[in-house]
């Protein structure tokens, strides 16, 4: 018999605190779809995706209904296209993106990830073609997401790739100038990219993964915030150690939900269950914000002094709770701070509490990086590359994942607003230090060597 408390608290989480499963992402290996003929390759890709994912959306909806927990997004992640289509030209790769887009549309998923290259130590021919094709691939499709891993703790930072990505981002923005550079919202540049991320835009299926796998992304910033608010209301004398316990317990509950739903979906589709990514992923809805958690913890806004310490506490407590809840944890696992996708964070930026520099600082203690950050459209490719390089360095040195999703909004300057719509939200454009200036450091290129693993200060 369940207790009344158990039932009522669960209902509260669902009804008032936005508890949901943020994404069920089906990973599909396309390695054996390879062909020397582009038409054959595209046919193989389309068939494999549509057959494997045929029942994904329906199954997620049915299981969501059964448990009363909505599966908000259903998505697909595929093997890195730079590998399966390594033999082709950039224009042929754009056609592969179209095939991915069509397959995603036909099975009813809103995003498909895996237009990906892994170039942390150097670029193969296929990698270069893929990267060059990214602007057109993202502008001509609406569901395809791209990611490029340019750095890792074991390899160092491929600065040639970093510089190239600065140029690619500029090109993608200018090709989607009529929509505030929205193509860049579907492009992530990574250090230490995990092979099993379920969240977009960074999801792809790693080479070490099976034919098909179900990965789940849980969320729940609203649940965490409400739990902190409730606890402080009941006892205003709680200290940070006790608040950490509350976040941990809440993360445990959220993760258990994700694992339950993920396993049910996997079993129902007869596909292996992969990991739960226990991230706090916000949406632009009020009450579903990571930024609001900082205010519950007593900070005026995200970005003011104290933010890094608070985020370190939140991120660590989320990981501890999640790791206890499930032995299959992976992906990014931590707190996301996507500026435009979190109403509270974008408002903090607009009010001047959050700068690009502070944002970079706090990415050293959270799970991702400079995510959905709108910057002036005239920021140079070199400066964009330099921002990427700084973010990659944080990941490489700290043995963690970092990423950038920067949007140089064409024709707009710092202080203007950028509108992306839907889950991508809107944001004030943040000023960039030395946005137009020369940056010889970036042009030097080459590889920043992998860091020493001892003398850890």
């Amino acid at each position: 018999m369940l207790t009344e408390r158990e039932i009522i608290s669960t209902l509260e989480m669902l009804e008032n605190e936005h508890l949901d499963v943020r994404t069920v992402t089906l990973g599909i290996s396309l390695i054996d779809c390879v062909s020397h003929n582009p038409e054959t390759l595209k046919n193989n890709i389309y068939k494999r995706i549509t057959q494997t994912a045929k029942k994904l959306v329906q199954t997620c909806d049915e299981i969501g209904e059964k448990f009363g927990i909505p599966v908000v997004n259903k998505r697909i992640a595929i093997s890195p296209v730079a590998i399966i289509a390594a033999a082709f030209s950039p224009s042929e790769l754009v056609q592969v993106a179209h095939t991915m887009n069509r397959a995603a549309a036909d099975v009813g998923v809103d995003f498909i990830g895996g237009f990906t290259a892994l170039v942390e130590k150097g670029m193969a021919r296929g990698d270069r073609s893929l990267i060059e094709s990214i602007p057109h691939a993202l502008v001509e499709t609406d569901r395809v997401c791209a990611s490029v891993n340019v750095a890792s703790t074991r390899a160092g930072i491929n600065m040639d790739a970093v510089y190239l990505m600065g140029k690619i981002i500029k090109e993608a923005a200018s090709l989607s100038a009529d929509r505030d550079g929205i193509a860049c919202a579907k492009l992530c540049v990574f250090a230490n990219i995990p092979q099993d991320i379920p969240f977009m835009a960074g999801a792809y299926l790693g080479i070490g993964e099976p034919d098909a796998v179900i990965n789940v992304g849980v969320s729940g910033p609203g649940v965490v915030k409400k739990a902190i608010d409730r606890a402080l209301e009941a006892d205003s004398g709680l200290d940070l150690g006790q608040i950490s316990e509350i976040i941990k317990t809440t993360a445990y509950k959220v993760t258990k939900v994700g694992e339950l739903i993920g396993r049910e979906v996997a079993e129902s589709l007869n596909i292996q269950f992969g990991v739960v990514d226990l991230s706090l992923a916000p949406t632009p809805n009020v009450g579903d914000s990571v930024g609001e958690i900082f205010q519950s913890l007593g900070l005026k806004n995200i970005g003011v002094p104290g933010t890094t310490a608070a985020l370190a506490l939140i991120n660590d407590a989320v990981k501890k709770g999640g790791a206890f809840a499930s032995s299959k944890v992976g992906g990014l696992s931590g707190a996301f701070i996507p500026v435009s996708e979190d109403l509270n964070i974008s408002e903090s930026a607009a009010a001047g509490y959050l700068s690009l520099e502070k944002l970079e600082a706090i990415t050293s203690v959270c799970s991702v990086g400079l995510d959905m950050v709108a910057i002036p459209g005239d920021t140079s490719a070199e400066t964009i590359a330099a921002i990427i390089a700084d973010e990659m360095a944080i990941g490489v040195i700290n043995r963690k994942t970092t990423a950038t999703r920067l949007i140089p909004v064409p024709g707009k300057k710092a202080g203007d607003n950028a509108y992306f719509g839907g889950l991508l939200g809107q944001s004030i454009i943040m000023p960039v230090n030395n946005g137009l200036g020369d940056n010889r450091f970036i042009r030097l290129g080459g590889l920043i060597p992998a860091p020493i693993q001892s003398l850890t200060n």
Partner: protein, 184 residues
């Protein structure tokens, strides 16, 4: 071996369980299962006990009435017949149905009529008045075994329609979700 079921009802006060079980002990009965609750100020207990062949149900009833009557409690003893077929539970899955809405007559009757019509079995029912007297905070929790063989969609549809008719918000969720969230 004979078995009886005993129910004890009355105003709650200290000593009810002690008085009941003392009689059973003195009569050489063995208590097999107990469930008791207090609703508002009223005690209700149900006891299953095996009793010696030599002891009649009437005699046990008399002894219990003597002991519990002094505490102003009502007692009822009945033999459990093992030869009567019990409800044969079909294969099913456990769900939790919760309704929330202003209190009025006929809420439980309305909801349980749909549950019964589909052959689903309520295994536990409890009411929670969260906000004291606030009729909008009236929550009913039904734990229900829903047979696999029934039309799940029709069942959910009928329940939701009935809830709407009664002015209730309803949610129907598999029990596992509550266990996953609340239990280690």
């Amino acid at each position: 071996m004979k078995k009886v079921i005993i129910s004890v009802l009355g105003h709650d006060r200290p000593g009810i369980l002690a008085a009941t079980t003392q009689v059973l002990f003195e009569q050489d009965c063995n208590l097999e299962n107990v469930s008791q609750t207090i609703l508002q100020s009223e005690f209700a207990g149900v006891f299953i006990s095996s009793i010696p062949e030599s002891l009649t149900v009437e005699e046990l009833n008399n002894q219990l009435e003597k002991a519990l009557g002094a505490l102003n409690l009502y007692v009822f003893v009945r033999p459990i017949r093992v030869d009567v077929a019990t409800y044969d539970a079909p294969g099913s899955e456990p769900f939790v149905i919760t309704t929330k809405g202003p209190d009025r007559k006929g809420l439980v009757a309305g909801i349980t009529s749909v549950i019964a019509r589909f052959g689903a079995n309520v295994t536990n029912l409890s009411a929670v008045f969260k906000g004291g007297d606030d009729p909008n905070q009236n929550i009913m929790i039904y734990e229900v075994d829903i047979p696999w063989r029934i039309d799940q969609n029709a069942f959910q549809k009928d329940l939701r329609e009935k809830a709407t008719e009664l002015g209730l918000n309803i949610s129907i969720q598999h029990r596992k979700i509550f266990e996953a969230i609340n239990r280690i």
